[in-house]
């Protein structure tokens, strides 16, 4: 291996690592706020990328049907509850939010021809379709058993994951897609060519991380999420609704996932099931941070990206084996630090 290859691999590793870091942050956030281990995080990566690819190819992405279907189911559940509680005035709002908005979006997708729109608008449309799926899935799958054990929530996560994988296959087919490059700029660094897209991924990830930091430090909703993460009951007593916090954290996680997918889709071919492995690598990073520390999780995720890049050079067939077994020494180290028996 010479320096040039090392630089190339390092560049690759940091790009992927930046994405894993974003996902790791979202996973830590969701776990801290809701105790949900968000296995389906990766599906949002795939859905974001493939929805954008669909829009660019002039196809109506299947995710819009999912959005409509979830909207209808939530409307039925919420409206029947409103009827039971004799609060009929709430029904129009329920229908508007859960059915009206998705219908409007679907109409827009029909009316405009998204393939002809400028890239930023395509990205915006893709995010508008995919991100609301996050809170909707929280509402339907997790909120009814929000008080269940971490284990039960984890099993629900896995169930949501397989459902979404199946739907992904149904919506996007088995072929992979790539989206158009955001930028064709490239820089020469020594003998190596630094791709503009790569720089964009890293910069966008950094911007997003900084934005998240300000969200949590400076805004009331960010503070509410942090409060819920620290003490669920205490936050509820202070008037922070647990389901609001859950929805909010799932919205953020879905947005981070979909945005990550959109960022990497010009440099990696994304298949309907690619998201799972990407998400799990974020998990390895998050586990390095003990599912609790944001900076350690992000650093761990970068490390995973580098490990992956270099092992693909030395032992490409065993890349996944190496990345996923790297979790074992981490767990050993974590295990040696605890000695206490705890109750679930």
């Amino acid at each position: 291996m010479d320096l040039q290859i090392a630089l190339l691999l390092g560049q690759d590793g940091i790009t992927n690592g930046a994405i894993y870091a974003l996902l790791a942050l979202a996973l830590v956030l969701v776990f801290a706020v809701t105790r949900v281990i968000f296995i389906p995080q990766g599906e949002f990566v795939a859905f974001g990328a493939l929805t954008l690819a669909g829009l660019q190819a002039g196809r109506l992405p299947g995710t819009i049907w999912l959005l409509l279907a979830l909207g209808v189911v939530i409307s039925v559940i919420e409206a029947s509850r409103a009827v039971r509680e004799r609060q009929f005035r709430r029904i129009p709002m329920i229908l508007l939010v859960n059915c009206g908005v998705p219908l409007l979006l679907a109409g827009a997708l029909f009316a405009l021809s998204p393939a002809a729109l400028p890239l930023p608008l395509q990205v915006l449309l893709a995010l508008l379709v995919v991100v609301p799926l996050g809170p909707m899935i929280y509402r339907l799958a997790y909120q009814p058993i929000a008080e269940a054990s971490v284990l039960a929530l984890l099993i629900v996560s896995v169930a949501v994951h397989v459902t979404l994988i199946g739907l992904g296959l149904l919506f996007f087919g088995a072929e992979g897609s790539r989206t158009k490059s955001f930028t064709d700029v490239s820089f020469a660094v020594g003998d190596t060519l630094l791709q503009g897209q790569t720089v964009l991924v890293v910069v966008a990830s950094l911007v997003l991380i900084v934005a998240l930091y300000f969200f949590f430090e400076r805004t009331i909703y960010g503070k509410a999420l942090r409060a819920t993460a620290m003490n669920r009951t205490g936050a509820r007593l202070m008037g922070i609704s647990g389901s609001l916090a859950g929805m909010l954290s799932f919205t953020l996680a879905a947005a981070i996932g979909a945005f990550s997918g959109i960022l990497i889709s010009p440099i990696t071919t994304i298949y309907y099931d690619s998201g799972f492995l990407i998400g799990l690598k974020g998990f390895v990073g998050a586990i390095i941070g003990g599912l609790a520390s944001y900076p350690v999780a992000a650093a761990g995720a970068i490390l995973v990206g580098l490990l992956e890049a270099f092992s693909s050079f030395w032992a490409s067939a065993f890349k996944e084996v190496i990345v996923f077994t790297s979790i074992i020494p981490v767990l050993v180290w974590r295990s040696l630090k605890t000695r206490h028996v705890e109750e679930e």
Binding site: L151, L154, I165, F318, S335, V341
Partner: protein, 592 residues
């Protein structure tokens, strides 16, 4: 409940076995193949019942363990011509080694690290199978020899059927036996009672490791059978998604019931077959769309019927609680008690901090054999924290604790229990779904020796009878004889406290830590409790008592220590304490 219920259960089981015996003679090949797979899957799902339903842990990587069993025999029989009967132990050994090492690194962490670890491990092993040239890569290994019983070669699914189902029924029986034993009670305490179990001397990490390994061994066994049924292996059936499907089977069938494993394996396998026929033509595309249905089904099951389908069926067959008559057994040996008046427990400068809060601040006192020492103080004074520190449930931040002359402050709760200390909890820690006698029998855990294997094959019955007799004796002593076989969760709180005392006594302690034993008791019950404690004192047991009922304390205690804000406020004889102005002020507030 009707007495005819027990024969009814036996009758159903006999009918089931009879149906299995005649099935290969009547059914066409297609259904037999289906039943063979249901059997193979149920073996794996049974491990998950033990792990998830009983132990409160879970694994998504069981398919990888099936793969270990299958690949070990495939490799050894084809490359090295080893007999399949030798590759079975070899495969189980490999499986056990991997499960033990994976368990050792994850089981001490919070519950969710194990399943996450199994996901990572399931993926890693799948790619390893697919990329190792020695294992045939993604094409796999073919030409695995059939199993042979003397001259009979098991070449067809029809012949294999009996083997699979015999293994499955044996494993079900062994699992049921295991759960109904000393080690089984410890396993059943893992879910929701780990802290209590540790305080009763159960090594909970070890129990977790054992059930994880047993579940892996079941999977490995299934893999060995699979390899010789198919006579061909490739990585696909050992992927993570198959591992997830195994968990679905266990959860849908009923994760807390051994029969739920068969039911779940049957339901999911048949449903999958059916969906794979219908969905692609319905959707006009080919692919594993049945996973959409399975995923949604799982979410619904977990939201609406977390116990799965089996309990719904069980409702149609009312079952009497199965408890045989008590067998007269030899009494368990007693621990020699220290001489009355000798110092049992000595606490020196004990401190406990929770962040900035100092819950115990330089507490020092001692307890002697054959005395009742009361620890009193207003709510929040740090009494229960002191108990947790002494008994190792929540170790002290600093300070020394000596018990019978040995330092114990750095020991885990189970090691302290081993030395003869036992306790009750202020917030009752019973296993509500277990009977009173089973709860109390957990207290006898350290007085038995028989292992998991002995329990599975029922060679533990002699010891088990002695343990249960001891538990029954303590239950009678605490005035609960008529509740012996009722569910602990159905008793009123006062009685539940008495069960806690019986459980503590069942461990044959020389020092008893009682945290508010009289709370919720009626007057006569309190008198009976006081009488019991006096008798224990007379036997030479030391008692450390936290209690708010002053009449109870002052009438019983030999010495009293008063705590306030984590510190020792006063110490002395009951009379002195009652006249102590600082104590009166702490309890009643000072005069302005």
């Amino acid at each position: 409940m009707s007495r005819s219920a027990i024969p009814q259960a036996t009758l159903l089981l006999s009918l089931f076995i009879a149906a299995l015996l005649v099935a290969p003679l009547l059914l066409p090949e297609f259904y037999l193949t289906l039943l063979n797979y249901i059997g193979l899957y149920a073996i794996v799902a049974l491990g998950l019942v033990l792990l998830t339903g009983v132990g409160g842990l879970t694994s998504f990587g069981q398919a990888a363990f099936v793969g270990l069993g299958a690949y070990t025999t495939a490799y050894l029989t084809t490359v090295h011509d080893v007999s399949p009967w030798l590759t079975l132990p070899a495969g189980l050994l490999v499986t056990a080694l991997v499960a033990l090492s994976l368990g050792l690194v994850t089981l001490r962490l919070s519950g969710h690290f194990l399943p996450l670890g199994t996901i990572a491990w399931g993926i890693a092993l799948y790619y390893l199978f697919g990329n190792l040239a020695a294992l045939g890569g993604h094409t796999g290994i073919s030409g695995i020899p059939p199993l042979q019983f003397f001259d009979l070669e098991l070449r067809s699914g029809r012949e294999f059927f009996y083997l699979i189902w015999a293994v499955l029924l044996t494993i079900i029986l062994a699992t049921r036996n295991l759960l109904d034993s000393r080690e089984g009670r410890a396993i059943r305490a893992l879910k929701g009672g780990a802290v209590m179990a540790e305080a009763m001397g159960v090594n909970t990490p070890r129990s977790k490791l054992v059930i994880f390994t047993v579940a892996a061994l079941y999977a490995g066994m299934s893999g060995w059978l699979y390899a010789h049924l198919q006579r061909f292996v490739n990585p696909t059936p050992f992927s993570l998604s198959q591992g997830i499907e195994y968990l679905f089977m266990a959860v849908v069938g009923g994760v807390s019931h051994v029969w739920g494993a068969i039911l779940g394996a049957g339901l999911i396998t048949v449903l999958k077959q059916w969906l794979q026929d219908w969905l692609p033509s319905l959707l006009g595309k080919s692919g594993n769309f049945e996973m959409i249905v399975f995923g949604l089904l799982m979410i619904l099951v977990l939201q609406r019927a977390r116990d799965g389908v089996w309990p719904m069926l069980q409702r149609f067959f009312p079952q009497a609680p199965v408890h045989g008559p008590m067998i007269k057994a030899q009494a368990l040996p007693r621990r020699p008690l220290p001489e009355a008046g000798s110092v049992l427990l000595e606490v020196t400068d004990a401190c406990k901090r929770f962040g900035g809060l100092v819950a115990n601040d330089r507490m020092s006192f001692c307890v002697r054999a054959g005395e009742v020492m009361a620890l009193i103080g207003p709510n929040g004074a740090g009494k229960s924290t002191m108990f947790d520190g002494i008994s190792g449930v929540d170790p002290l931040t600093s300070g020394a604790v000596s018990f019978r002359g040995q330092r114990i402050e750095a020991l885990p709760a189970r090691a302290i229990a081993q030395r003869g200390m036992s306790r009750t909890f202020q917030h009752v820690r019973l296993l509500p779904a277990m009977s009173v006698i089973e709860n109390v029998a957990i207290g006898t855990h350290l007085r038995g020796r028989k292992s998991f294997v002995a329990a599975a094959f029922r060679s533990d019955r002699g010891e088990e009878a002695r343990l249960l007799q001891e538990a029954a004796a303590q239950i009678e002593r605490c005035g609960l004889a008529e509740h012996m076989h009722e569910l602990a969760g159905s008793l009123p709180l006062g009685k539940q406290r008495a069960v806690e005392i019986a459980r503590a006594l069942a461990s044959d302690p020389c020092l008893l830590l009682l945290d508010e034993p009289a709370a919720g008791l009626r007057y006569l019950e309190k008198q009976a409790l006081a009488e019991l404690l006096r008798r224990l004192r007379a036997e030479g047991i030391g008692i450390l008592l936290v209690e708010h009922d002053m009449d109870f304390v002052m009438g019983l205690a030999d010495r009293v220590v008063v705590m306030e804000f984590g510190q020792k406020l006063a110490a002395g004889l009951p009379d002195e304490i009652q006249r102590n102005p600082a104590v009166i002020e702490a309890y009643l507030g000072g005069l302005e």
